[in-house]
C-alpha cells in the first residue's frame, strides 16, 4: 500500500463520520488551546519580569550591609557594621569597576514654597542616572561631586515635579526636606513603577546628604557596575576581598545580578510549567476522548476490518492504518487548537502590544508533537484490537 493510499483511506474514514470526528477534534482542540495559551501567558510573564529586572543592565552586583540574607531586608535595618561612603569610594577606584552607585532610601516631606508632598527620597551618587538608565527631561542629573562633600542639589521625578511646581519651571528653584535646602538641577522623564515604588514620585539627592538627613551612618546598598571584560566570579571575589581588607571581616552580603536572575528564573520557570500543567489536564481529557471514540469506531467497523484482512491486508498494515487515522485526528485537533489561540494572541498583540504574551514558534512544534504522541497513545489499543480480529469472525459480524 502506498502512503498516499493510506492517507486517503484515513481521510475518508474521518470524513465518513463527519460529526463524530468534528466533535472529537473540537474536544482535543480545546485541550491544546488551553495548554498553548497558558504556556504563552507563562512565558510572557517570565519574559516581562526578567526584563523588569534587567532593565538596569546586567553587569551589576549589589552589596548590602550585614551578613544575614533576609529578602534584602538587611539593608533597611540599622546596623552596627555600616557600609559607608568610603567603601563606595574605594570600590570606585578598582579598575574593573565602571560605576558605583551608593544607595540610601528614605521617606520624608519635600517642600517647595507653599506646596509640599510626603514622598520617597533616594540618596544616590551622580552615576545613578547613567547606571540605572534614567533619562533626564530638563536640566541634568546630580553632578559628579566628591561623594563625601557633595553640593546640595536635587533632581525631581516627573510626578513630584508636577505636584510641587505644576507647570512652572522647577529648575533653579529651592526645595526643603526637613531643615535642609536643595536646589533643583534636573527633572526626570517618566519611568513608571519598579517593585511597588513609583520611580516618578521620588526625589534624588546626594547619598551623603541623605545619610545626614536620616541620621544614619550606613548605606542601604552599593550597586557596582563592572566592565564586560571581567566575569561575575572575578568581580565578586575582588569586591569581597577589597571590602574584607577594609572591614577586617565579611560583614556584608554580595548579590550578583546573575545569581538573582538565576533564582528568579527558576521560580518563574516553575510557574510557567505549572500553568502548562494546568492546561494539560484538559488535554488529558481530550486524549481520553480520542481513545473512547476510537475504540467505538473500531468496534463498529469490524466488517470492514474483516474484509480488508480477507483481501490480504496484514495485521501490521491494519494496525498502522488505524494508528494513522488516530494520528490524523489528533494532528487536526492540535492545529485547530493552536489556531484557536493564535487568533486572540495576534489580536491582543495588535491592540495591547505591551501585554506580556510571548509567542514562540517552538510552542507550535511542541504542540503538534504532543498531539501526535497523544494521538498515537490513544489509538494504539483500538488499532491493536482491530489488527487482532480473526478475519472470518469479523466478516460475519453484524
Amino acid at each position: 500500500m502506498r502512503w498516499q493510499d493510506a492517507w486517503a483511506w484515513a481521510w475518508a474514514a474521518l470524513k465518513a463520520q463527519r460529526l463524530r470526528s468534528l466533535l472529537t477534534i473540537i474536544g482535543f482542540a480545546v485541550g491544546i488551546a488551553a495548554v498553548s495559551l497558558l504556556s504563552a501567558l507563562g512565558e510572557g510573564m517570565r519574559q516581562f519580569i526578567l526584563q523588569e529586572f534587567t532593565q538596569f543592565g546586567s553587569n551589576i552586583i549589589a552589596i548590602n550591609p550585614g551578613k544575614t540574607e533576609t529578602f534584602g531586608m538587611g539593608g533597611l535595618l540599622t546596623t552596627t557594621r555600616p557600609l559607608a561612603l568610603d567603601d563606595a569610594q574605594l570600590l570606585q577606584s578598582l579598575a574593573q569597576v565602571e560605576q558605583v552607585v551608593p544607595v540610601v532610601f528614605g521617606n520624608g516631606q519635600v517642600k517647595a514654597g507653599t506646596r509640599s508632598r510626603y514622598t520617597d527620597i533616594a540618596g544616590v551618587g551622580s552615576s545613578a542616572a547613567q547606571a540605572w538608565k534614567l533619562k533626564v527631561a530638563q536640566g541634568h542629573f546630580l553632578p559628579d561631586d566628591d561623594l563625601q562633600q557633595p553640593r546640595s542639589f536635587a533632581v525631581l521625578g516627573s510626578k513630584l515635579k508636577t505636584e510641587l511646581f505644576g507647570h512652572r519651571n522647577a529648575l533653579g528653584e529651592t526645595v526643603h526636606i526637613a531643615q535642609s535646602r536643595f536646589r533643583v538641577v534636573g527633572v526626570m522623564q517618566p519611568k513608571g513603577e519598579f517593585l511597588g515604588t513609583d520611580l516618578d514620585d521620588l526625589i534624588y539627592i546626594p547619598a551623603q546628604k541623605a545619610l545626614q538627613l536620616f541620621n544614619r551612618d550606613s548605606l542601604m546598598e552599593i550597586d557596582v557596575f563592572y566592565s564586560e571584560h571581567v566575569t561575575t566570579e572575578q568581580i565578586e571575589r575582588l569586591v569581597k576581598q577589597t571590602l574584607i581588607d577594609r572591614h577586617g571581616r565579611e560583614d556584608f552580603t554580595v548579590i550578583t545580578q546573575d545569581a538573582m536572575l538565576a533564582s528568579l528564573d527558576k521560580i518563574l520557570a516553575i510557574v510557567k510549567l505549572a500553568a502548562a500543567g494546568l492546561g494539560s489536564i484538559a488535554l488529558l481529557v481530550g486524549g481520553v476522548s480520542i481513545l473512547t471514540i476510537f475504540s467505538i469506531t473500531v468496534s463498529e467497523r469490524r466488517q470492514e476490518i474483516g474484509l480488508m484482512r480477507a483481501i490480504g491486508f496484514t495485521a501490521t498494515q491494519l494496525r498502522n492504518l488505524f494508528l494513522l487515522e488516530a494520528l490524523m485526528m489528533a494532528m487536526i485537533g492540535g492545529i485547530s487548537g493552536y489556531g484557536l489561540v493564535l487568533f486572540p494572541l495576534l489580536l491582543m498583540r495588535l491592540l495591547r502590544p505591551d501585554f506580556p504574551l510571548a509567542f514562540e514558534p517552538l510552542i507550535l512544534v511542541l504542540t503538534l508533537a504532543l498531539s501526535a504522541v497523544i494521538g498515537l497513545f490513544a489509538g494504539i489499543k483500538p488499532a491493536l484490537d482491530a489488527a487482532k480480529l480473526p478475519p472470518i469472525a469479523a466478516l460475519r459480524d453484524e
Binding site: 460529526l19 463524530r20 466533535l23 472529537t24 473540537i26 474536544g27 482535543f28 480545546v30 485541550g31 488551553a34 497558558l38 550585614g66 551578613k67 544575614t68 533576609t70 529578602f71 531586608m73 538587611g74 533597611l76 535595618l77 540599622t78 546596623t79 552596627t80 557594621r81 540610601v104 532610601f105 528614605g106 521617606n107 520624608g108 516631606q109 508632598r117 510626603y118 514622598t119 520617597d120 510626578k159 505636584e163 526636606i177 531643615q179 511597588g196 515604588t197 513609583d198 514620585d201 536620616f214 541620621n215 544614619r216 542601604m220 560583614d251 494546568l278 492546561g279 489536564i281 484538559a282 481529557v285 481520553v288 476522548s289 481513545l291 473512547t292 471514540i293 475504540s295 467505538i296 463498529e300
Partner: protein
C-alpha cells in the same frame, strides 16, 4: 415510564459497552478531581495564612515612620525618615483607651559573639509586651523583665537557631555574650517555631528597647506594634494616633499604618483571584469531557436507531425518549463526579497526612461547584443528541433508515 423502568432500560447499555462507560466516567472524573484538588490548594493557603495571623493576636495595628502621598503605593517599609518616631512618641499615645498593648521595635543587624563563635544576626529592641503581641513562647529561662521597658538592662533572649549556633549543646542561660560593642546576659531562649510572616524568629535575638538605642546609637523606632482592645476600633484609633503624633511632630502626622485587616484582605483578594482562575482552568477539562459526552450520546443514538423506532412505535413520547438519553448521560456524569470526588478527597487526605503544616482543605463551594458544573455540562451536551433521538421518525428508524 417509572424511574425504575428508565433504570432497567439504561443499565444493560452501560454493561454492554463497558469500556465506553468506563472511559466516559474517567473523563468526567479527571475534570471534577482536578477542579477540587486545585481549588483546595487555594483554600489550604487561606487556612495557612489565617493560622499564621491568629498567632499574632486578633487586632494588630502596625505604625511605621514616614508617609507617602503616592496613590495606591506600598507604605514606606524602610523606616528611614528625617524625623524619627521615638519611644516618647509611643508613650504619648499609650493613654488611648482603645489600645490594649503596645510594643516598640528597633531592628538592626549586628554581630553577636560568644567565645570564639560569632554570628551576624537581626536584633530587635523591644519590651516584654512584644512577646505577648507576637505570641512568642519561651522555651528556656524567661522573657525580658518589666524594667526593660524603661531602662537599659543587659539581658538578651535568643531565637532557638541562634542559640544552637552560638552555644551548640552547651547551656546558654546566664552566659554573657557580646552584641555589637556591649555585653548582654542570656535570659531566655525562644521556643522552636517556624517562620512567621517572613521573619524567621529562630534566627533573631530580642534585647530591651533602651539597650537597642544604645547598641545602634539611634532613637529611631522601626515599627510600633499596637494591639487593640477589640475589632472595629482601627479607624478611630488611627485618627487619634495621627492627631497626637502631629502635635508632637510640629503639625505633621508623618506616620503610616498597616492594619492586620488590610493585610488580610489584600492577601485574600489575591488568593481568591488565583483560586478562581486555577479552578476555571481546571474547569476547561470539564468542557472537554462534555464534548465527549455529546459525541458518545450521538453515537449511542445512531447505534440504537431501531430501538428508538420501536420505543416510539409502541407509544413512547418525545419527552420520554429525550429523557432516556439525557438520563443516561447524567448517570454517566454522576458516576464520574462521584469517582472524581472520591479520588480527590482521598488524595487530599493523603496530602494532609504527609504534609500537615499546610492544610489542604476541600472547600464546600468548590465541591458544590464542580459537581453542579459537571451535571449541568452533562445535561447541556446531551441535550442536542437526545433531541435528535426524540425527533426520529418511528417508521424510518424501525427500518434503520435516515
Amino acid at each position: 415510564m417509572r424511574l425504575a423502568d428508565y433504570w432497567q432500560y439504561s443499565l444493560p447499555v452501560f454493561v454492554r459497552h463497558k469500556s465506553r462507560t468506563a472511559l466516559l466516567t474517567l473523563a468526567v472524573a479527571i475534570g471534577v478531581c482536578s477542579v477540587v484538588l486545585l481549588t483546595s490548594i487555594g483554600e489550604g493557603a487561606r487556612h495557612f495564612i489565617e493560622r499564621e495571623f491568629a498567632s499574632l493576636g486578633t487586632q494588630l495595628l502596625i505604625i511605621l515612620p514616614g508617609k507617602k502621598e503616592t496613590q495606591g503605593g506600598a507604605p514606606p517599609l524602610y523606616g528611614t525618615t528625617p524625623r524619627d518616631l521615638t519611644l516618647d512618641d509611643m508613650r504619648a499615645i499609650a493613654h488611648l483607651p482603645t489600645i490594649d498593648k503596645m510594643a516598640p521595635v528597633i531592628a538592626g543587624t549586628t554581630l553577636i559573639s560568644f567565645g570564639n563563635r560569632s554570628r551576624e544576626a537581626i536584633v530587635m529592641g523591644s519590651t516584654p509586651e512584644f512577646f505577648a503581641i507576637r505570641n512568642l513562647l519561651i522555651g528556656q529561662g524567661q522573657i525580658l523583665p518589666a524594667s526593660a521597658s524603661d531602662y537599659h538592662v543587659p539581658v538578651i533572649v535568643l531565637g532557638s537557631k541562634l542559640k544552637q549556633e552560638l552555644f551548640g549543646q552547651q547551656e546558654a542561660l546566664n552566659q554573657w555574650l557580646k552584641v555589637g560593642d556591649y555585653r548582654f546576659r542570656v535570659l531566655g531562649v525562644l521556643q522552636e517555631r517556624g517562620e512567621s510572616l517572613g521573619l524567621d524568629l529562630r534566627d533573631m535575638a530580642v534585647i530591651p528597647v533602651r539597650s537597642a538605642e544604645m547598641v545602634f546609637d539611634s532613637p529611631a523606632l522601626f515599627r510600633i506594634l499596637v494591639q487593640l482592645k477589640q475589632a472595629q476600633l482601627e479607624r478611630y484609633t488611627e485618627q487619634r494616633i495621627r492627631k497626637i503624633i502631629a502635635e508632637r511632630h510640629e503639625g505633621e502626622d508623618d506616620i503610616s499604618f498597616v492594619s492586620q485587616d488590610s493585610l488580610l484582605s489584600a492577601f485574600y483578594s489575591i488568593l481568591n483571584t488565583v483560586t478562581a482562575v486555577v479552578g476555571a482552568i481546571a474547569g476547561i477539562s470539564l468542557i472537554v469531557a462534555g464534548v465527549l459526552i455529546m459525541n458518545v450520546t450521538y453515537i449511542s443514538v445512531a447505534q440504537r436507531r431501531q430501538e428508538i423506532g420501536l420505543l416510539k412505535a409502541i407509544g413512547a413520547t418525545r419527552k420520554q425518549v429525550q429523557r432516556i438519553f439525557i438520563g443516561e448521560a447524567l448517570l454517566l456524569t454522576s458516576a464520574g463526579v462521584i469517582g472524581g470526588l472520591l479520588v480527590a478527597l482521598l488524595a487530599l487526605q493523603l496530602a494532609r497526612w504527609f504534609w500537615p503544616e499546610f492544610p489542604l482543605t476541600p472547600s464546600g463551594w468548590a465541591l458544590a461547584l464542580a459537581t453542579s458544573a459537571a451535571l449541568v455540562l452533562g445535561w447541556l451536551f446531551s441535550w442536542l443528541p437526545a433531541n435528535k433521538a426524540a425527533s426520529l421518525d418511528p417508521i424510518l428508524a424501525l427500518k434503520g433508515l435516515h
